[in-house]
């Protein structure tokens, strides 16, 4: 049986090093580049005809646009409009990573905690900067809600601080863990199918069901990652 961890291995394809830092072009980077190319191609070619009555592809592009625009509008309000390109990019990048990972033999870059953490920390730092830029030191009120009795500060402030600083970790770990576990399950089930021979039909049926589930999770986790970013953005812009 193949090692289920094998699929997460990073393979440097073009070794590069700048200033002592390893920036090799790896299989992970290949998938990221493919994701960028596919997403850009999909979203630009589909609306090339600029049809008044959209075709199949144009409808899909418009659905993505309006889905994210609606999410941002509902969760952040009109003040969030200028962050629309970032939130949209975030969603498409995560979604493309998750879905490309479902291609057999492909590498899933969202199953690497450093990638998800990289995006999560950008969201976290960005949101914190936006919060301080809009509210100044008043943004520190985040950690101690208005109207709460002063005596509760001893408990409330540490809780709020911990919950605030755990945001990037929960955001990163949620996506990474979902992707990693899903792919391990698929690999293990696939191993069973091969190992059991004729009786492999039983795990094979199960594998089919789990594959459908994994597609659902791939989309759901992209949605969750994006909507949590929207909620954090809302907190920074409107406070509690």
């Amino acid at each position: 049986m193949a090692n289920p961890i094998e699929q997460f291995k990073i393979k440097p394809l073009i070794p590069l090093e700048v200033g002592g830092v390893d920036i090799s072009f790896t299989n992970s980077a290949v998938m990221m580049v493919i994701a960028v190319v596919l997403v850009t191609a999909f979203l630009t070619l589909s609306v090339r005809s600029r049809a008044l009555v959209p075709g199949r592809w144009q409808s899909m592009a418009e659905v993505f646009y309006e889905f994210i625009a609606g999410m941002l509008r509902d969760n952040v309000g009109s003040a969030g409009r200028k962050y629309f390109p970032f939130i949209f990019t975030l969603f498409m990048f995560v979604l493309a990573g998750n879905l490309l990972g479902m291609v057999p033999g492909a590498f899933t870059y969202t199953s690497h905690v450093i990638v998800t953490f990289g995006m999560a920390i950008v969201v976290f730092i960005g949101v914190t900067i936006i919060g301080f830029a809009r509210h100044g030191t008043h943004f520190l009120r985040m950690f101690f809600p208005e109207g709460a009795p002063l005596a509760t500060a001893v408990i409330l402030v540490p809780i709020e601080v911990i919950s605030y600083f755990s945001r990037p970790f929960s955001l990163a770990v949620r996506l990474f863990a979902n992707m990693t576990v899903g792919h391990i399950i698929l690999k293990v089930l696939g191993g069973f199918v091969v190992a059991l021979g004729v009786f492999g039909v039983v795990p094979f049926a199960f594998l089919g069901a789990v594959t459908v589930l994994e597609f659902g999770i791939a989309m759901l986790q992209a949605y969750v990652f994006t909507i949590l970013s929207c909620i954090y953005l809302h907190d920074a812009i409107h406070m509690h």
Partner: protein, 164 residues
Amino acid sequence: MPQFDPAFFAPQLFWLAVTFITLYVLMAKVALPKIGAVLDERQRKIDDNLDKAAQLKAEAEAAVAAYEKALSESRAHAHSVIKEASERLAKQAEERTRELNAKLAEQIKAGETRIAAAKDAALNNVREVALDVAGATVARLVGGAADQAQLEAAVAAALKEAGQ
């Protein structure tokens, strides 16, 4: 797990940054404005068409109102024409009747005059015949000519008695 091997953190973060920023620029500068333009264009067209529909509806309503006004005006005009014509005809008929009446009255009057003249003439004839007959009768009975004046008075008295 390879995920926790710090040796692969740097290259992954580097390429994440490169690809993510590339995608961001492509989305912000190319894809999203395009899709947004298509959606705006559609919204604008829908709004335009709605405006146009409202305008056409207003025009149709104005046309209906104008039509109804014209209809009621022409109906009133027709009424007045009919009234005028019937009044004129009634007047003409009345005039003609009056003329006819006058003519008939004149003719009746002329007839009556003629009848009266004929009656007078006839009465004169009767008187002369009566005078002759009376003269002859007196002459036969008395055997001489009768007094003409007495005869005339007697005949006149008899005629008066019979005539009335």
